[in-house]
Amino acid sequence: MRILIVDDSSMMRSMIKRVVRMTDVPVDEILEAGDGAEALKLLESHDVQLLLTDINMPVMNGADLLRRLAKNDRWRDLTRVIISTDGSTERREEAADLSVCCYLKKPFSPEVLRDVLTHAAEAARA
């Protein structure tokens, strides 16, 4: 499985990568992007099965990224997870409309992220 982590904090990406490596989720490659535009470029050039994205980012935020992905059948099977400080009902409702599989609110413990990853990875393999 190829995973793409999108967050403007390189340390948050690093923490998420560490958790991914500690789990049993079979991962071939972990890609990273600092904003939605960078993420789109990577999605266009790589076959990604699982996307983990923040919302508040410069250039293109996570909500805009997800809207772009929703418009293109090419990414119909891409499993999407939001990891964000914004856990409002408004965002969660929007996420549900954009085929988001899981919504994880920051702050979180590594164990909570592990559980979300395990669930999302199963969805990606299905």
Partner: protein, 175 residues
Amino acid sequence: MNESLQLAGTSNDRGSSTRLIIGIGELAVSTARGMKITTHAVGSCIAVCLFDPAAHVAGMLHFLLPEASINPGRAATHPAVFADTGIPLLFQKAYSHGLLKQRAIVKLVGGADMVGATAAFSTGKRNLLAARNLLWRNGVFIAAEDVGGTDARTVHMSVDDGRLQVMTGRSQKEL
């Protein structure tokens, strides 16, 4: 080879042929089939329990305080009193019996907010944060926890399957 081993102050006559009892500031590691490891009075302390299902190694540490720097002299003679000396020691002893970190199933019990001095210093919470921090920094997930609250707990751990029975007052929980 089946072997049970008590360390850091436990006496050989505490327990029986099927039960190892450890106290505060003590740890035990065992591979003996049919054995249980037990500890009482887990109040603001934490019982760190680990198990490797493939190697059948079980270990338990009952630590009292988060950091050895509070009392280096005591840490030198009683490392199991502190999280940052006791947890590495527990793992080292378990490794010597065949436990592999990537297979280790780790559970935490305790960290209660007891009345008196420990409540004033929030010792239970400090101990819990210290244990979680150490395990994360050493690349180990926590599989399950029964922590917090205001009551002391008793923990019985099965060496056969790593399951915990946690008794709090009149209630019992399996972990």
